[in-house]
């Protein structure tokens, strides 16, 4: 029975994909979209069913579909595991997925390739489900690479523009760098524990450790640490952490629903999911945890600073996503997995809402993304505005919206563990508040700065677009309740997966309340600055060429892309050109050299063959003498 349901869960989006690929074009104007939405909705229903079930029974469901392949001493099954963690992820993947599909029906309604778009979206959902539900690392890897592929396809959806294709390619390759890390990590784990199943790895590690003496134990653990580090590199690629984050802002080239679904709510959190899944491994490797925490903190602050000055509405959101992901990794590095998961969920709500809101804006402005050419949209788009405001408040950490709870938990954890990281995280949060409200003010307030033509066409988006916005805004507003400080449903729910917490829940004391107050004040300060700058003074960010100093550096993202180009892409291309033009010719010449030498010998030998019979006779006689002397050599001497 479980098998049927799980197949339904997995195959519904896949069927949607296949149907859309083959028949999508014939399915009427919005047929493809509704079909895709329905497919995801089926998955959502199945998920909901299991979610309710596990809330009651608290026993995970595991199904083994078939044996995939084996290597070394490891046999890999196509196994599906529905436990608390994966069901939680499934809930918001399919839930938000359904909403975004619905949104896309309207958003993409006049694109000629929309059936492809929905096919890709469905494929993405399928791979995401596989990623989340797989019961071993390799099945997760299928999903891991699969979502990367869908991300590639969707970023480059408007394939006629080669810049978009470049962005898609960049995303795929950056992800693949991480994937190599993931592979190496898997290899190490498979080598050490002879299994890749999540359920068996901890036992195998324990068993191995019990067999080993003290010095070998250290060695074993350091090997596992390397595995953890390698996996983390994989997570860096997928979840856009330093140094592999540069693809995510570029990925905004894709249609906005894609940015909302893949590059904000679901795929980019796969790294966090994986680390949470493998928490037992990371727990064994404190050094790696430190690395994760530091990388997360640095990413959050770097991305936040870049986000301060971006003018493209989606770019701001993209850097905000990177920054928020950094905060989640900070939490992961500190061992507070459930906190990270909490933030993933709230983030999914409000960031999806923000992206969809920005999509609504862009839709209304017919593709304009530059905030310098927006403004005063509040008047025309009230629903978009309100949902956007709620989400902005949520991401800025203003109570009682969801972001407040989750972000506050992260900062609190950081405060207890490491003060420096706490300060960095807090600064990043203040910046977040600033740039989100900068975005809000520039887009929805003051006067409209676009063309008359655009102004004429301004309108609130249709219901298919506003409905998901409203649902997400509600969730963004109240989502924090699932882990209310002191009485966290989420922590209890996840306890079977993540184990009993040694540091437990934060005891709500004076320090904690003080910290909350600090966080709120910080958020308000950020909002205040934005208010003063953009609403009070009515500033508009300068045009590209007028930027100076730090502003310019930030606007150009610290020139990281250029640095990568200079450090990696250029040298490797130069090497390639060198190989192609010089080394290939040289090698080829070397081989031809054999022929040439033979030819030359032949040419010289030809001269010997001068046709003179007299000469031939000479050689003949000399040869005869030589042969005779050779035959009787030992006799003569």
């Amino acid at each position: 029975m479980d098998q049927t349901y799980i197949l339904l869960l997995l195959l519904a989006p896949l069927a949607g994909f296949i149907l859309n690929v083959f028949f999508g074009k014939k399915a009427g104007h919005n047929g493809a979209g509704y079909l895709a939405t329905f497919a995801v909705f089926i998955s959502f229903c199945v998920t909901l069913m299991y979610f309710l079930q596990i809330n009651k029974t608290a026993t995970p469901v595991q199904v083994n579909l078939f044996e995939w392949f084996s290597f070394g001493k490891v046999t890999v099954n196509m196994g599906i595991l529905l436990d608390q963690l994966s069901l939680l992820w499934l809930m918001f993947v399919t839930g938000i997925g359904t909403l975004i599909h619905l949104y896309s029906v309207s958003y993409m309604h006049d694109d000629e390739n929309r059936h492809k778009f929905f096919a890709y979206l469905n494929l993405f959902i399928f791979f995401m489900l596989l990623l989340v539900t797989g019961d071993n690392l390799l099945v997760m890897f299928i999903g891991w690479e699969g979502v990367g592929l869908c991300s590639y396809l969707l970023i480059g959806f408007w394939y006629k523009n080669q810049d978009y294709n470049d962005a898609a390619k960049k995303a795929f390759i950056m992800n693949r760098i991480g994937d190599l890390g993931f592979l190496i990590g898997m290899f190490i784990i498979a080598y050490l524990t002879k299994t890749l199943d999540y359920a068996q790895i901890p036992d195998a590690i324990k068993f191995k450790l019990s067999l080993l003496q003290e010095p070998q134990q250290m060695k074993f653990i350091s090997a596992l640490s390397i595995a953890a580090l390698a996996l983390f590199i994989g997570a860096c690629g997928k979840s856009a952490q330093i140094p592999l984050y540069t693809w995510l802002p570029d990925a905004m080239a894709g249609p906005t629903p894609v940015s909302a679904l893949i590059h904000a709510a679901t795929m980019v959190t796969a790294g966090i999911f994986m680390v949470t899944r493998m928490h037992f491994l990371f727990d064994l490797a404190p050094n790696v945890q430190n690395v994760i925490a530091i990388v997360g903190a640095v990413t959050s602050i770097v991305a936040a600073t870049i986000g301060l000055v971006q003018n493209d509405i989606k770019k701001v959101l993209a850097y905000s996503t990177v920054s928020q992901l950094g905060l989640m990794f900070l939490a992961l590095g500190l061992g507070a997995y459930e906190v990270a998961v909490f933030h993933v969920i709230t983030h999914a709500f409000f960031k999806a809402c923000l992206f969809l809101g920005s999509g609504s804006v862009i839709h209304a402005l017919h593709g304009e993304q530059d905030m310098r050419k927006m403004g005063a949209l509040k008047k025309w788009m009230p629903i978009t505005y309100i949902t956007f405001l709620i989400s902005s408040l949520a991401i800025s950490g203003i109570p009682p919206f969801s972001g407040f709870f989750s972000k506050d938990e992260i900062l609190m954890t950081a405060f207890h563990e490491n003060k420096v990281l706490y300060v960095i995280g807090s600064v990043a949060s203040i910046m977040t508040a600033f740039y989100m409200f900068r975005l809000l003010y520039l887009t929805f307030f003051k006067d409209f700065r676009g063309t008359e033509e655009q102004k004429h066409h301004l309108h609130e988006s249709p219901a298919l677009i506003t409905f998901p916005l409203i649902v997400l805004a509600i969730l963004a507003a109240i989502g924090g309740l699932i882990s209310f400080p002191g009485a966290s449903w989420l922590n209890q729910y996840l306890a079977p997966v993540l184990g009993a917490k040694e540091h437990g829940e934060h005891h709500l004391g004076t320090t904690e309340y003080a910290l909350m107050a600090v966080a709120v004040i910080g958020g308000l300060i950020g909002i205040g600055i934005a208010y003063a700058k953009y609403l009070k003074k009515g500033e508009v960010p300068p045009a590209d060429e007028e930027m100076t100093g730090l502003h310019k550096v930030l606007y150009h993202k610290y020139y990281i892309d250029e640095a990568y180009e200079f450090l990696f892409v250029k040298p490797i291309n130069a090497l390639s050109t060198f190989f192609r033009d010089t080394l290939e010719t040289a090698l080829s010449g070397f081989v031809y050299g054999f022929g040439k030498v033979t030819n030359a010998i032949g040419d010289q030998g030809r001269l010997l063959q001068n046709g003179s019979v007299g000469r031939y006779l000479f050689f003949f006689v000399m040869g005869m003498v030589a042969i005779v002397s050779y035959l009787f050599y030992n006799k003569i001497v």
Partner: protein, 171 residues
Amino acid sequence: MSTVLIIFFILSAVTLATAFLTVFTKNPIHSAIYLVLCFFSVAGHYLLFNAQFLAVVHVIVYSGAIMILFLFTVMLMNLNKEDEVHKPRTTRLAAGIIFILTCLVLLAIFIQTKPIVGPYDDTGVDYQSIKVLGNVLLNEYMVPFEFASVLLLVGMIGAVLLSKREKTEKK
């Protein structure tokens, strides 16, 4: 020093001297005549061995047939002149060196191998009379003998064909 030995030395001297002269004389006709003499002295050697039949055949084939052919050819080509240009000096020197080398190598092999020679058998059995030779030739060497005849036939045809003027080339 027995008579036979003396005869041997005289014959040998004649053989070698005429052979040398054959090679050295400029006029081909003279060469041919020296060669005839050389062949006769070789025939003398055969007689010394008491191989009369062989000696006779030798004279007939070499001095008679082959040398006449040579002389005819020489005359046919009208080479009755000392107009041959010498080979370059280096070549001649090299030829000399190789001559000496060949001699030395062959002799050295012979001397160094220190063959155990003699005592010479004298079984008294007749082994080289025409009768015996005929028997051997036509029994034991029947097949080669026939082949030799075929060879001669082919040689004859070949010689005729080769020396015939080609008629087609005129066209």
